[in-house]
């Protein structure tokens, strides 16, 4: 079940004035399509030529502004595609690279504005692709500039479920209890509702800290009950140190998996969601769940801040 393993983690902060990509360009860069400064920010920082091929994901292509699509495609030399087509192209790139005898495929995914479902689909494809050819994976993230969250409860929780079948977890012991690892965002009531839904034995709460310190204030205010009631299992993490976060999360979830079925509920920064998917790639017992409807809120966070980070790792087949 654990078909891949991950190694060689590194992280670098990107220079806000432009960070020229060095070395071999990425074979494929995947970003989200959109008109805000945050959508193309990472590609701008890395500079033209950092990727041979760019795909911008949009799952509402039919309703997108055609001129905006053309401008984006022209400016970034990109193709705007939906999630399904993006995953197909990723897998066909893998097949081509493998056929041509390439040692690895270099893929960059800018997760800043991707939805959680899109991330689930993409990372599931990476997991599949890595069984064919090693993937040099770079995950880019641009922190949003602070924007006030809604005061009221977040929009509807439509469905609370695993984000993708590849991340639904599996167990040889269904009799074990459920433990949840939840990272909180600034959506009021979301995390509490999801935790209650799962009726877990225990819960661990990751609280994000970043240079945009006003986020933390809102996060604390909107998750006061959850954080207060979990005081002995609250873990503070730095959003812009994803490798540290990966190892802390992996260590925690590995420990939990010996005596429970761990379910990750990564609200808040998309980078933590990506890190959770990487942890679930490493551990078959871990599931990554999401709340449908949650991404509606993050639409407010469209302005790029001066803080961007790139996390890299190798994803390989266990049989390699």
């Amino acid at each position: 079940l654990n078909s891949v393993f991950l190694s060689d983690f590194e992280q670098i902060m990107l220079d806000p004035n432009g960070h020229q990509h060095e070395g071999v360009p990425y074979d494929l860069a995947i970003v989200s399509f959109g008109k805000t400064t945050r959508n193309g920010h990472l590609l701008n920082l890395l500079g033209k030529g950092s990727a041979r091929f760019v795909i911008a994901v949009s799952d509402a292509i039919e309703t997108e502004d055609k001129k905006a699509v053309s401008r984006f495609e022209s400016f970034f030399s990109a193709s705007v595609c939906n999630s399904a087509v993006t995953c197909e192209r990723l897998l066909s790139s893998v097949a081509q690279s493998a056929a041509s005898g390439a040692k690895e495929l270099k893929v960059l995914i800018d997760v800043s504005c991707l939805t959680r479902i899109q991330m689930g689909n993409l990372f599931a494809s990476i997991k599949t692709a890595a069984t064919t050819i090693p993937i040099h994976l770079a995950i880019g993230y641009c922190l949003a500039r602070y924007a006030r969250p809604p005061d009221q409860h977040a929009p509807l929780n439509r469905r609370i479920a695993p984000v993708h079948r590849a991340f639904s977890g599996w167990t040889a012991m269904p009799t074990l209890p459920v433990d949840v690892v939840v990272s909180v965002g600034y959506e009021k009531g979301k995390a509490l509702g999801a935790v209650e839904y799962l009726e877990p034995r225990g819960r661990w709460v990751f609280v994000p800290n970043s240079p945009e310190s006003r986020f933390l204030r809102e996060v604390m205010a909107h998750n006061r009950e959850l954080i207060h009631a979990s005081s002995r299992t609250v873990i503070n993490y730095e959003v812009l140190k994803p490798v540290d976060t990966y190892y802390r999360l992996l260590s925690l979830v590995s420990g939990l998996a010996t005596e429970s079925r761990p379910v990750l509920l990564p609200f808040g920064p998309k980078l933590f969601f990506a890190v959770s998917l990487l942890v679930a790639m490493s551990l078959q017992e871990a599931a990554v769940w999401y709340v449908d409807g949650e991404d509606e809120l993050s639409g407010a966070l469209h302005q790029a801040s001066n803080y961007s980070v790139l996390m890299t790792c190798h994803v390989k087949s266990r049989s390699d």
């Binding site: 079940l1 078909s3 599949t128 069984t131 409860h153 509807l156 929780n157 439509r158 469905r159 609370i160 479920a161 695993p162 079948r165 639904s168 977890g169 599996w170 167990t171 040889a172 012991m173 269904p174 009799t175 209890p177 459920v178 009531g189 979301k190 509490l192 509702g193 999801a194 935790v195 209650e196 839904y197 799962l198 009726e199 877990p200 034995r201 225990g202 819960r203 006061r224 009950e225 959850l226 207060h228 009631a229 979990s230 079925r261 379910v263 078959q284 599931a287 769940w289 709340v291 449908d292």
Partner: protein, 628 residues
């Protein structure tokens, strides 16, 4: 108290058997469930289904030392096999089928679920053979001995039946082989999907255990076991928890088997009242029927008296562990409710508080008459004089006065002052204190009751400080109510895949609550304003599905018994009320009353605006910051 400490006040899934047994309170519902028959245990979240099933398992009964424990152990003549399940396990199984054709998915999902049942069965056998050196007989309950050669033979027989290859002829090896099977199921499913080309024949070829009939498998296994311990007439019971998350075909199979199952193997199945099973076609000409084939036990109380008796037992169990409250009666801790809870039949079951009843009535009636012309007209029409308020049954209008007293109190509290005067702002909350009100608000739901009791008990310094002040009781009752409302505000609107709505659950509840509040307080005075509703033909699927989710969370309570197998197939023409726990949130009395068509209530509420009348956080007695 925080939301989470309230929610996890009694989460039996997260507790050890000793912890569950230590706080267990037997009830008539438990007795109904425990008998030697098939049973469906139907109730909303937190209503205690897991606790009841676990207490019927071998481990639960061995851990139980309460007053009735010995009697139960003496009278129960079956071995309970507790089969845990939960939403996460259900989603894991569902994920196996993503992108796979329905037939193959059904086969694989069934195999996964069946393997879990087999693991639980082997665990129960291990427990029966466990040699415990304890002075207490209960730890040896249903313990048996078996010669090692016989045990090996049993293991070999079961392995053959279940198509397993254990490394050694031991029950432990059987369990390991079953765990390995689960891993194989997960791995094969991934490979089938990744490969893209598979067929039912290939699935059956690579997974030879696919399609094993689970009921017969368990039945034959326990027959083999019992034969070796010379108890051929032994009975076993599968205790299937949270069975609504099981694959459809398995639910259909088990529910159908309630009629046809061998009496060697009984089923006790816990279900949500509006789970997907209620939408299943059992595909049989003679479906199982209640009483003949199974007993249906519902964990909600339309009869308040029954709930109060259970609440009193829970109270006694909790206070037995609180030295400062030992031997205290509930009324000594909570006092009596300030306002009577009056049923629609006019029966009052709670006496009034310290102020003399007639003084209190006269004060409330006079205050309301001053600011409410419609009440004044009502009094005139009924020829009720405030100088002679007498609630005795033989007094003129005695029944009417007694019946409207709580309505007058609510209306008076929320109506504000007469024209030109400042509107009253202080919430009317004294109705939510006193033992009768606390017990009624808990709805007999152990999680809610324990949540409130825990908070209120923490206020008790010494027995001299009893009863706990009304303000402190109100505070904890209101926080519990508000927390429940907060949780309802985050409930997902799609559950079990089949039950979907576009309407947020709390929004619908708010509209209903607002309608009742307006009829009670804003509109012309009525002797018997509606506080319940029935689902009429004009209610569409979207609203009905929203109500189904509300029922599963205990947010609305049905007056009638569920008339379908394991719950409500349709809600049409059923009568409901809002949970009494939401009464403080919507500023409503804890009271039964007449019903109104739901379509009418929603139309009126919508026409008057969607803003609900829930109390703002600042009205909950303490600043928000100190509540959580």
């Amino acid at each position: 108290m925080t939301a989470l400490s309230f929610l996890s006040a009694f989460n039996a899934k997260a507790m050890s058997y000793e912890q569950v047994a230590d706080s267990f309170v037997s009830s008539p519902k438990f007795a109904q469930l425990a008998g030697q028959w098939n049973a469906l245990l139907v109730g909303p979240r937190g209503s205690g289904k897991t606790t009841l099933l676990r207490m019927l398992s071998l481990e639960g009964l061995r851990s139980w030392s309460g007053p009735e424990a010995d009697a139960y152990r003496a009278n129960l003549n079956y071995t309970g096999i507790y089969v845990p399940s939960d939403i996460a396990w259900g989603e894991m199984i569902n994920s196996l089928g993503d992108g796979m054709d329905k037939t193959c998915f059904n086969l694989i999902a069934e195999a996964a679920f069946a393997t879990n049942v087999m693991i639980a069965t082997v665990s129960a056998m291990q427990l029966r053979l466990q040699s415990v050196s304890s002075v207490e007989d209960r730890h040896r309950y249903r313990a048996v001995q078996i010669a090692s050669c016989d045990l090996e033979e049993v293991v070999r027989e079961i392995a053959e039946l279940w198509k397993l290859q254990p490394r050694t002829a031991s029950l432990r090896s059987l369990q390991l082989a079953l765990s390995a099977r689960l891993l194989h199921i997960g791995q094969q499913s991934t490979l089938f999907r990744a490969g893209g080309s598979y067929s039912e024949a290939l699935v059956r070829d690579l997974m030879p255990y696919i399609g094993l009939p689970i009921i017969q498998c368990v039945n034959e296994a326990v027959i083999a076991f019992d034969a070796r311990i010379d108890q051929s007439d032994g009975i076993w019971t599968l205790l299937l928890d949270e069975f609504e998350v099981a694959p459809d075909n398995l639910q259909r199979m088990i529910l159908t088997a309630l009629r046809a199952s061998a009496r060697k193997l009984l089923f006790k199945v816990a279900l949500a009242p509006c789970g997907p099973h209620t939408l299943l076609n059992l595909d049989t000409g003679t479906p199982p029927t209640e009483r003949n084939d199974f007993r249906q036990i519902e964990l909600w109380y339309s009869d308040k008296g029954e709930a109060e008796a259970f609440c009193a037992d829970v109270f006694a169990a909790r206070t037995s562990k609180e030295p400062k409250l030992a031997a205290c009666k509930p009324e000594a801790v909570f006092g009596k409710s300030a306002y009577a809870i009056v049923d629609e039949d006019g029966q009052t079951n709670v006496a009034s508080a310290s102020e003399s009843k007639n003084e209190q009535l006269a004060r409330e009636f006079a205050a309301l008459r001053e600011k409410d012309p419609s009440f004044d007209a009502f009094l005139t029409h009924k020829k009720i004089s405030l100088d002679k308020l007498d609630t005795s049954p033989d007094a003129p209008n005695g029944n009417t006065i007694r019946k409207i007293a709580p309505i007058v109190a609510f209306r008076n509290a929320y109506k504000g002052y007469a024209d030109g005067k400042k509107r009253g702002r202080k919430p009317f909350t004294s109705a939510y204190s006193g033992w009768a009100a606390i017990a009624a608000m808990s709805e007999g739901n152990p999680r809610w009751l324990i949540g409130m009791l825990t908070g209120i008990f923490s206020e008790v310094g010494t027995s001299d400080s009893l009863p706990v002040s009304i303000q402190r009781q109100q505070h904890h009752a209101l926080v519990t109510a508000k927390t429940f409302a907060d949780v309802l505000g985050t409930v997902a609107i799609r559950q079990f895949d089949q039950i979907q709505t576009s309407i947020p659950v709390f929004q619908l509840l708010s509209m209903i609550g607002k309608y009742f509040y307006d009829r009670l307080v804003v509109d012309e005075f009525q002797e018997d304003p509606p506080l319940s509703f029935y689902v009429d033909d004009d209610i569409g699927d979207d609203i009905e599905n929203c109500l189904r989710i509300a029922i599963n969370h205990g947010a609305i309570v049905c007056y009638q018994s569920a008339d379908d197998i394991g719950g409500f197939g349709t809600l049409c023409n059923k009568r409901f009320r809002l949970s009494y726990l939401l009464a403080p949130v919507f500023k409503l009395p804890v009271r039964k009353s007449k019903a109104v068509k739901l379509s009418t209530a929603l139309a009126v509420a919508a026409a008057r605006g969607t803003r609900h009348n829930a109390l703002p956080a600042s009205d909950y007695g303490e600043p928000q910051g100190t509540l959580f």
